[in-house]
């Protein structure tokens, strides 16, 4: 079983420690390496140092008057260049707002289904085809699982493979950071997927329904050249 311990009860917010403005390095004054230890602060410098504003806790972030009565230095002068993101502005995400659920047809015959049994889109299903089925929320995914669960990766959250030669199904995790769970356990390597297994990804729980098995499988001619 997956570990399910975790926080219990009502959490308490730890308040911030008020920062006392006392300008004395325990390493001695100035930016040099630690030195004499005691003293070293220059009262003159401290007096003309009204630039460090004590901050309040996070509760009122937007409009906080400075508690300091001393005049503020013009921020434009004092301000360090803002942290920049490499590459400058990247284009906005292209998968928003959520597109209407457009499913690309699987050209070859269906070999199984994933049915949403819990989470957004409960009761819906998506068909699986021969070979490798990459599952993602985006419409470029072969199996598009887009019923509103935005915790599902856009592409390649998980992969279900049907091997027609061995007549078996496999489940493995996709190429992103998100995990897929099989019967509650994370899938870390390709794992045999049995009919009726429960998969979960994001906030969605799926039941795997196999078409092929001991009783039925597509003939080689029917399943076409793709496999």
């Amino acid at each position: 079983m997956a570990k399910k311990f975790g926080p219990d009860g009502v959490p308490v917010d730890v308040p911030s420690t008020p920062f006392r403005r006392e300008k004395r390095s325990i390493f001695g004054d100035g930016p040099g390496p630690r030195g004499s230890g005691v003293g070293g602060s220059d009262p003159g410098r401290s007096a003309r140092r009204p630039l460090f504003y004590d901050d309040e806790p996070t509760t009122r972030p937007m409009t906080r008057p400075t508690a300091d009565s001393a005049p503020r230095v013009a921020p434009a002068k004092a301000e360090e260049p803002r942290t920049r993101i490499a590459g400058g502005p990247r284009p906005a995400r292209d998968d928003e707002p959520l597109p209407p659920s457009r499913r690309r047809g699987i050209d070859d015959p269906v070999v199984g289904w994933l049915v949403v049994v819990e989470g957004p889109g409960q009761g819906c299903f998506v068909p699986l085809g021969n070979g490798l089925n990459k599952i993602g929320r985006g419409d470029e995914s072969r199996v598009q699982l887009d019923f509103g669960d935005r915790e599902i990766s856009r592409t390649d959250h998980a992969r279900v493979t049907y091997d027609p030669k061995g007549n078996k199904y496999y489940l493995q995790v996709g190429s992103g950071v998100n995990l897929v769970y099989l019967n509650g356990e994370p899938v870390l390597q390709p794992t045999i997927l049995e009919n009726g297994c429960s998969l979960s990804m994001g906030a969605t729980t799926l039941r795997f329904v196999a078409l092929c098995g001991d009783e039925f499988m597509w003939s080689e001619a029917e399943r076409g050249p793709s496999a």
Binding site: A2, K3, K4, F5, G6, P7, D8, G9, V10, P11, V12, D13, V14, S16, T17, F19, R20, R21, E22, K23, R24, S25, I26, F27, D29, G30, P31, R34, S41, R45, R49, L51, F52, Y53, D55, T58, P61, M62, V73, A78, E79, E80, T83, R84, I85, A86, G87, G88, R90, A92, R93, E96, R150, E151, R154, V177, L179, P186, G202, A203
Partner: protein, 258 residues
């Protein structure tokens, strides 16, 4: 496990305080610490960090059934969507973003998610060690010869080493540090989370401050660190925020059947 937690911040010489923190502690000695260092937009770095911290904690609280790692990653993802929505609804917010480092401590096991360059350190047995990856361009390039995604790769090659390679920006996050295997904490360990303004002090200085008095409260350690940063009197001192988490006792035995 029982812990002594404190946090504090100072504005430095910046116009606004753009760092945001949430420290939650549960009666059964589980803990969640979140720190976000906002940036960008016209004046909205603080909007970004507030949005992300609020959404992160809300999602974490709501998702009780998932594994800890999933909970953290889900909360990160939800926070990213919240930021996207905010940017969509407010033109002033275009270009804003934030780092985020969030740690969850359950039964003495530490897991984290981290995007950006806000450090998470472990002070143990006199030594300070950085736990999370640093997503500055320099660090990312040092770590891997081939950058991860095509778009990010090109961006990295064109950027200077101190720029951020990744942050929470309301779009796909390509670099997330989220270990699968939890770190076991021991009594006496101190975790430090900071915004990069704290790195005015070197790791050695921070280690010296933490070792100065092993029994000092987290509150006094936070105070010491911030005073030390202030004492350096950097002309362009960035916002500095630090969270100290000191393990004060062993994880109590859990009754069977729980």
């Amino acid at each position: 496990m029982p812990a002594d937690i404190a946090w504090g911040q100072m504005q430095g010489r910046r116009e606004r305080q753009q760092d945001r923190v949430a420290c939650l502690t549960w009666p059964n000695d589980c803990h969640l610490l979140i720190l976000a260092d906002g940036m960008g937009g016209h004046a909205s770095g603080d909007v970004a960090s507030s949005t992300v911290v609020d959404s992160f904690r809300r999602t974490y609280l709501e998702r009780a059934s998932l594994s800890q790692r999933d909970r953290l990653l889900g909360a990160l993802q939800e926070a990213n969507y919240a930021l996207f929505d905010r940017i969509q609804s407010d033109p002033d917010c275009v270009g804003m973003g934030t780092t985020v480092v969030a740690v969850a401590i359950n039964r003495g096991e530490l897991l984290w998610v981290s995007v950006g360059d806000s450090p998470l350190w472990l002070f143990r047995e006199g030594a300070l060690r950085r736990l999370n990856k640093n997503h500055s361009v320099g660090s990312v390039l040092d770590e891997r010869a081939a950058p991860p995604g095509a778009s990010l790769g090109a961006a990295l090659l064109a950027a200077s080493r101190s720029e951020l390679a990744e942050a929470v920006l309301g779009r796909e996050i390509e670099l997330v540090d989220a270990p699968h295997v939890p770190l076991e904490l021991a009594c006496g360990d101190i975790l430090l989370l900071g915004s990069d303004g704290v790195e005015t002090c070197s790791d050695e200085d921070l280690a010296a401050l933490a070792s100065a008095d092993a029994s000092a409260s987290s509150e006094s350690l936070v105070d010491c660190i911030l005073r030390e940063v202030a004492a350096r009197d950097r002309p362009r001192q960035d916002n500095a925020t630090v969270i100290a988490f000191r393990v004060t006792g062993p994880e109590p035995a859990v009754a069977p059947g729980r």
